[in-house]
Symmetry: none
Subunit: 216 residues, 4 copies
Amino acid sequence: MTTAAETEAPRAARPRADALRNRERIVTAAREVFVESGNDVPLDEIARRAGVGNATLYRHFPDRAGLVHEVVVSVIARTCEQAERAAAEEADSFDAVRRFVHAAADERIGALCMMLSGDFDKDHPDLTAGRERLDAAVLDLVERAQSAGRMRSDVTVLDLLLALSQLTRPLPGIQCLNADRFVHRHLQLLLDGFEAPARSELPGEAATLEALRPTP
Amino acid sequence: MTTAAETEAPRAARPRADALRNRERIVTAAREVFVESGNDVPLDEIARRAGVGNATLYRHFPDRAGLVHEVVVSVIARTCEQAERAAAEEADSFDAVRRFVHAAADERIGALCMMLSGDFDKDHPDLTAGRERLDAAVLDLVERAQSAGRMRSDVTVLDLLLALSQLTRPLPGIQCLNADRFVHRHLQLLLDGFEAPARSELPGEAATLEALRPTP
Amino acid sequence: MTTAAETEAPRAARPRADALRNRERIVTAAREVFVESGNDVPLDEIARRAGVGNATLYRHFPDRAGLVHEVVVSVIARTCEQAERAAAEEADSFDAVRRFVHAAADERIGALCMMLSGDFDKDHPDLTAGRERLDAAVLDLVERAQSAGRMRSDVTVLDLLLALSQLTRPLPGIQCLNADRFVHRHLQLLLDGFEAPARSELPGEAATLEALRPTP
Amino acid sequence: MTTAAETEAPRAARPRADALRNRERIVTAAREVFVESGNDVPLDEIARRAGVGNATLYRHFPDRAGLVHEVVVSVIARTCEQAERAAAEEADSFDAVRRFVHAAADERIGALCMMLSGDFDKDHPDLTAGRERLDAAVLDLVERAQSAGRMRSDVTVLDLLLALSQLTRPLPGIQCLNADRFVHRHLQLLLDGFEAPARSELPGEAATLEALRPTP
DNA sequence: TATGAATGAGATTTCATTCAT
DNA sequence: CATGAATGAAATCTCATTCAT
């Protein structure tokens, strides 16, 4: 006879409650620290901020790349959720885009840029899956707005995600209270550019995420 | 009997030709490498790329901060030059803004973001002077375009410079041939936002560079 | 249910036994190596002699100055102990001085000279406290001997400590078995000078440790 | 037909006047800097203090050891001169010892200790010759004083030279105006110990310079 | 399991020595 | 000859990762 908990996770030994809490705290601390201080903070700093010993971090993640991987995946997932919620809850199709953009900024999607620079496995299935899900969710937002004539038809999903990520990328040395306000200002300006009817014809080439792969 | 050269500058020996060439090569290599691989490349890598020994680098720049300082100052100066040239040579006031924005991207103004994160003296007179000159030159561009009704009046110099820097910031891991093309696309989108008559009222607060100072 | 030990000190984990042992071994090795080879030995050499990796040394002492600080403090403390023991255990007051002088030599008090030349914080509270305690202990020895008419009244504590330190200062290049014997010979000669009734009047100025502070 | 100058130094090309002056300035600067800042100052610092380029230093001395060698030899020679002059000019035999001791201190004989630690050839003929001449000169002083019953008979030349060197050794970190006064105070105390009739029998073993040779 | 400690590999910086002007 | 510049080797210090309690 087995308990309900054992039934839900039958393949691995049931993780202890404090272990799960530690794991969560480490990922959260890492996200914050990466945003604040950049990608090259010592892992000891992250462990300290999470309130755990450094070896505990290694129990949960095999190496630095593993931790970065987890943070990236979690940021993508949270951003994805925002995209889906915006699509579901906003009546106007361009308002949905707007809401997503600002929400993604608050989820620190910009930190992804920084972390892509680290040497971790960018072809890991988790990442591919996450990107695909995010692409799909954003594509939904974009297509709806474009079909409704609310967004320029030459703007691609990749344009949106790239520009968004870059504009919200943290400036590790610069911590001041109204930095966020600037970011949202700039996003609004960008969105105004997206909304405007096309004046100058952009090179409307088909843009995909693959286009950004490093050339080997 | 002495030659004219000896008579004219007897006390301060002119710097040697090869030393000047080396200094130039180091700064150039550093600019390239910082853009390619981020702010935390080993100095040995820069020295190697410049074709000099690592100690030569230290003869010219007292430490890493000194080198970053030099690169930052040089990028600012080159960008400034582009602003002044655009103002002088373009007939249309918004075309001047456009030309400056794309030229600044090519001068790697985005690398400034990355380098501002490094720990070097951000209050050095050289930097202050450079920023002031750049601010003035860009203010000239912006005010002309706004007076002519070609640019939204709620866009500030700081908006322009910050968004421009962020959008052109290098993605150290990602080197591919058409990354630049994406950047210029996004700049065009942003400029379209700048050009459009104001639709949503932006919070028109007076924005200055001081606003980005870290809070002490 | 918790054990008594866990109950008594629950908040500050006691330092690990092996860490304490390592710390002790590093300080001991440093004291030896500084005496043997001078103040500018590589820290790697000290770590090797202590049988630990170099980074272990840096875990215990933040930098070279930190290690030198610790060695200086420990030598002062050990010397101090010798002074107090000599005062307590010797019947004759000048014998106590003699015993202290030779014991201080064996504690390598001379190494202090060498280490004072290194660039570490000479105004650290630990050092100030140590010096004061040592001064007090030696002053006790000196005053007793002088009150008993066993020591020249114009010899000050600072004279004793300085001359003692200089005469016992290690000669880093010179390691031979009877170097110590020479040192003790010279100390005896000096003590004979101290014991003799004053013949030539020395400039009896009040001498304090402050007199040796570098002029700013 | 040759000039007188060429006749006097026929084997090597006659050194130019400015070269000689430079050589002298380098040795003087080195002596000062070694006393002030210890044995491990950069050669560039010495060159700067001498007002010459670093390469000029290397033109005169093949390497750092060569420079140290020259300084050591020169200090020994100057000290030797003081010994001979004291012997010649002082009426009282112990006054001659006293005068020599204080003069040697002023010639920075203590710096020899520091430099013996550097890795230079301690068996070079120049050094051996210098030491022998110095030993002879000081032996003359000592024997006269002992024959006249003015100095304890158990004090050897080596005792005198070693104690003198140690007591006058510079403390590189400590530069203050009356440091010299302390040194001379201590020398006086030591001399008083030398002058006193022997009270405690010292271990009168024959002491020679050879006794200090490092054990191989 | 969680932790503080230990470690070697690598980055920054210095300096004795050589080179080119 | 004299010099500023260049250089590699070595020293200091950091950090991702492993070990032992």
